[in-house]
């Protein structure tokens, strides 16, 4: 029988530290598969800032930088400017990108940095134990929003893809999700497209990936998938917001 699915060379053999059912693991695998399929593992340099994925340097089988919270796009800029032919990506959570790192992500897009950002949106701070993130939904409980997020008190959740799609340098902006098998396949396509845009030197690409956090949502992994579908999809519609070749 032919092997149709096996662990990609893009991942090391290390077991992920992520909680059971956390879809970070799925996203890691997709990124690694794409890097292998595009045959760029030897040129890839990843940047993982503070967050649950800060240990990504143990998992991706390519050169990696661990970066300060929110600063991965700046670190990636430094790397890409030194090695323009390398394939540079950042792998960031929403607490990192949409909060402390908003300036860096906006300006990386604004400068049209030829890097690829994998933006994992699970509507919460994971590593630090479930605090409210800028992407936490209205009414969603978090350890720093124990009564549920109240827009009157701290605003509406941030729609990053829509925001970044207004920036000319952001040539590829797409929001996808990994809450079921078919969407996982679509996510992989989007990741591949974003990296291809970097390889063609067209500019900045970002894939926002809706992801689960069973532990901090206080749910089982399966309930997490359902919650994402019923609550996150309506507020964070999936789809492409920018892709090269569009008639402006």
């Amino acid at each position: 029988m032919a092997v149709v699915f096996d662990r990609t060379k893009g991942l090391t053999s290390k077991i992920f530290h992520y909680c059971p059912g956390c879809t970070h693991g799925v996203i890691h695998r997709l990124v690694a598969e794409v890097l292998e399929e595009l045959d760029v593992l030897g040129k890839a340099v990843g940047v993982a800032p503070v967050g649950c994925s800060v240990f990504a340097y143990d998992y991706f089988n390519c050169d990696m930088h661990e970066a300060a919270h929110g600063r991965a796009p700046a670190v990636a800029t430094g790397i890409k400017r030194v090695h323009p032919d390398s394939v540079v990506f950042t792998y960031q959570g929403d607490g990192d990108l949409a909060s402390i790192g908003t300036a860096e992500i906006i300006h990386a897009a604004h400068r049209g940095e030829k890097i690829t950002t994998i933006f994992v949106n699970n509507a919460i701070y994971g590593m630090t134990g479930g605090q409210m993130a800028p992407t936490t939904l209205i009414g969603q409980k978090a350890t720093t929003a124990p009564y549920g997020r109240d827009a009157e008190h701290c605003g509406m959740p941030l729609k990053v893809s829509e925001m970044l799609s207004t920036i000319d340098g952001a040539k590829f902006v797409e929001r996808v999700s990994v809450h079921n098998a078919s969407n996982i396949r679509k996510t992989k396509k989007a990741i591949k497209k974003a990296f291809e845009i970097q390889l063609k030197g067209e500019g900045f690409g970002i894939v926002e990936i809706l992801s689960t956090c069973p532990t901090n949502w206080g749910m089982t992994p399966l309930e997490g998938l359902k919650w994402l579908e019923e609550n996150m999809l309506p507020y964070y519609p999936l789809g492409n917001f920018r892709t090269p070749g569009e008639v402006e």
């Binding site: 029988m1 032919a2 092997v3 149709v4 699915f5 096996d6 662990r7 991942l11 077991i15 992920f16 992520y18 909680c19 059971p20 059912g21 956390c22 879809t23 970070h24 693991g25 799925v26 695998r29 990994v178 079921n180 098998a181 996982i184 396949r185 069973p214 089982t220 992994p221 399966l222 998938l225």
Partner: protein, 76 residues
């Protein structure tokens, strides 16, 4: 009509018993092995009726911990 024949193998000690794979199998054969506990203390996922497997790899697609390897052949 050509018939797809699949086979899945689980690296049991990587499994964290999250059960995601049990929700995507088109022939509903992926189940949790309640009789066993792996090195992490979880019930690992498994397939008992392997003959029904069609090798679609949905289970491997959604597995967050790269537990599942999938093989497939098309029988004429």
């Amino acid at each position: 009509m050509a018939k797809a024949k699949g086979k899945v193998t689980f690296i049991e000690d990587r499994c964290k018993g999250c059960e995601l794979c049990t929700t995507v199998c088109p022939v509903n054969i992926v189940v949790m092995n309640r009789d066993e506990i792996n090195i992490k203390g979880y019930h690992p996922a498994t397939v008992i009726e392997m003959d029904k497997c069609i090798g679609c790899a949905n289970c491997a697609m959604i597995c967050p911990d790269v537990v599942i390897k999938v093989e497939r052949e098309i029988k004429k």
